[in-house]
């Protein structure tokens, strides 16, 4: 036995009575699952290539297709699950590190789902957002500690640079290279229309997107790809990426085969060369070193733009955040262990990092205890799935949240988690021009605007229910939250009471 056969995970169920053999499934599947047999006059499928992205299912005009989980199972074993055994086979076959994409799919606790939100009854009135003004605008950046006055007693209104957002949400970092030109165009256009920001990730900023600069956060990561004067000057804020929730402690690797044309030019590296982002920044080994980079970037942008430092949520996150808050950074972004990625080693994605809810609560508390919470704004990400998650995050102490997976879902992503193959049938995580064109940014940006508009309505409804008319009054307002089914330690870290208390 040279290579262990692994039975396919999915089956393609074709309703023969409904199939009209229009071959749309065949034309739309980059994995070449479907084919038309002219001799038999029927569609055939090779389910071993199927990744369950549902492109064929979505486009089949007669709903003749269904992708189902295969029921071919290895002998049941409570210790050795099917997937564990298959991973062993794969590694024995290939000798390689297992790769995965998007966020951690393991059944680890989702604390958002164990937190409930308060509402007003009798003693304080709820507010109807359809009748009364409701503020969702936020400003991210360093806030003054106290009111200062000049010699004549007038209040000094000059404050550190702020990032203004119409609602406490931003699209998080996804590089041009990991996602397509059209995906970037959709995000950039939607962010501009919504009055929020999107983030370039570590792939540079395509020349076509400089016009969206006022709604762009540019990233400076360990590989420094695409960083130059105009890039920094174009942006609304600059983000130093120290780590990513999906793969804390490791760098990135965009294979040379994807470094073609515009991507090579945007990243400022030769075509065909691997884009390797080292695990550490080779010039940062301490908070003092980080401070140097923060101030280098501030100097380069004439102290006009806030600097964000993004880290993954790891064990000592409160102490790390405290250090960052003293480094001169204006905003700290923390990415939880469920954050997505275009490719990460499976073991890292599934086993490294901590839940963002706990990280956020402990960081906010630590910064408050140390009296430096005003030094920085807190942005959190790593699977914020709905307006309710946003409200819970803000009440736990976040100034804003980063969303990426939800944004990609709006663009058509079906979470098949095979971005690393580069054959995204939805035109998102691919550079193949035939696939990229499947994402029309006119549609994509509109869908993102729709999603965020819906979330903004929901945020207002939830705030109104609590009798709060401004997102600022909700921030860190943990009295608005209660835990269900959480133990004492979890409640202590989250800084909330149990439901009924």
């Amino acid at each position: 036995m040279r290579e262990q056969f692994i039975y396919p995970d999915f089956e393609v169920e074709r309703n023969k009575e409904r199939c009209i053999a229009c071959r749309v499934c065949e034309r739309q599947c980059a994995n070449e699952v479907h084919r038309f047999d002219a001799e038999l006059g029927v569609m055939l499928s090779d389910e071993s290539k199927c990744v369950n992205c549902q492109r064929c299912v979505s486009l089949c005009p007669t709903r003749a297709l269904k992708i189902v989980k295969s029921d071919c199972r290895l002998r049941e074993n409570a210790n050795w699950s099917d997937s564990t055994i298959k991973e062993i086979y794969k590694q024995a076959n290939s000798g390689g590190v297992l790769l995965s994409s998007m966020g951690n799919p393991k059944p680890l606790p989702v604390y958002w789902d164990k937190i409930l939100i308060n509402a007003s009854q009798v003693t304080n009135p709820p507010i109807d957002p359809l009748r009364e003004p409701m503020e969702t605008k936020v400003f991210l950046g360093k806030k003054p500690e106290r009111i200062k006055r000049d010699e004549d007693g007038n209040i000094i209104t000059e404050i550190a640079p702020q990032l203004e957002l119409s609602m406490p949400v931003m699209f998080s970092a996804m590089s041009y290279g990991s996602i397509s030109y059209n995906a970037h165009a959709s995000l950039a256009r939607a962010a501009t229309e919504l009055g929020i920001c999107y983030n370039t990730g570590e792939g540079g900023l395509h020349e076509d997107f400089y016009v969206y600069g006022p709604n762009t956060v540019v990233q400076v990561a360990s590989g420094r790809f695409g960083v130059h004067k105009d890039y920094l000057e174009a942006a609304a804020a600059v983000e130093i990426k120290m780590g990513q929730g999906a793969k804390p402690g490791i760098g990135g690797h965009l294979p040379g085969t994807k470094i073609v044309g515009d991507i090579s030019r945007t990243r400022m590296i030769p075509e065909g060369s691997d884009a390797i982002s080292p695990a550490p920044h080779h010039d940062i080994y301490s908070i003092e070193d980080l401070r140097q980079l923060v101030y280098s970037l501030k100097e380069a942008t004439e102290y006009k733009k806030p600097v964000i430092v993004k880290v993954a949520a790891v064990h000592n996150i409160a102490a790390i955040a405290s250090g960052i808050a003293r480094s001169g950074a204006d905003i700290i972004a923390i990415d939880g262990f469920r954050g997505g990625t275009g490719a990460a080693p499976t073991r890292i994605r599934d086993n490294v990092g901590i839940p963002i809810e706990l990280a956020l609560a402990s960081v906010d508390q630590r910064l408050r205890d140390e009296g430096i919470r005003n030094n920085v704004s807190l942005v959190i990400g790593g699977s914020v799935r709905s307006a309710a998650d946003v409200v819970k995050a803000v009440a736990l102490g976040a100034d804003a949240v980063y969303v990426a997976t939800a944004a990609l879902l709006a663009l058509g992503c079906h979470l098949c988690r095979t971005c690393q193959s580069g054959k995204c049938n939805w035109g998102i995580a691919t550079q193949n021009p035939d696939l990229v064109k499947r994402l029309n940014p006119d549609i994509g940006s509109q869908r993102l605007v729709n999603l965020m508009t819906a979330w903004r309505h929901e945020i207002k409804e939830l705030m109104g229910g609590m009798g709060i008319n401004s997102i600022e009054s909700l921030r860190g307002n943990r009295l608005m939250l209660r835990g269900v089914g959480l133990n004492t330690k979890e409640l202590e870290i989250l800084g909330i009471s149990h439901a009924g208390e």
């Binding site: 749309v24 486009l59 005009p61 064109k437 549609i443």
Partner: protein, 146 residues
């Protein structure tokens, strides 16, 4: 007047427009019943070559050659839409020959068939536009060319 336009940049070559067209013009209320096991005669055709795909349908010319060429007087312009009266068509297919866009084709009954913007069927709006997954086919008002 509103016409069907194609943004080639967004055409995926999925051929859904052809099936939606054939279904809309079938007069049958179920797509499977209308199209299963049958050869389809859509009024929109995907042209593909060298990686470019494009849906071609009637341009509804201001001064249509097909109307001029029709020996039976079956083709006429009604409120800007070029329509075929199939009861008059003798099936000479001169219109197919003269159309510079290749937008007229023989239909299942031998008579010439072409896009009539779904005005004659129950779809209400062009079915190709409605069903295009990438908004590559649009139905809109554009500045008329001289």
């Amino acid at each position: 007047m509103k016409r069907v336009y194609v943004n080639e940049q967004w055409c995926l070559g999925c051929h859904l427009c052809e099936y939606n067209c054939a279904y809309a013009n079938s007069g049958v209320d179920d797509m499977v019943k209308a199209l299963k096991g049958k050869q389809i005669f859509p009024n929109v055709h995907i042209e593909e070559a060298d990686g470019v795909t494009y849906a071609v349908s009637c341009r509804h010319c201001k001064d249509p050659l097909c109307v001029k060429s029709c020996i039976a007087g079956a083709i006429s312009v009604k409120d800007g839409t070029v329509v075929i009266d199939k009861s008059k068509c003798v099936g000479c297919l001169t219109c197919v020959l003269v159309c510079p866009y290749g937008a007229v084709a023989p239909g299942p009954d031998g008579a010439a068939s072409k896009c009539e913007l779904c005005m004659q069927n129950t779809c209400g709006e062009p079915a190709c536009v409605k069903g295009c997954p990438n908004a590559a086919i649009v139905y809109e008002e554009r500045q008329e060319r001289a």
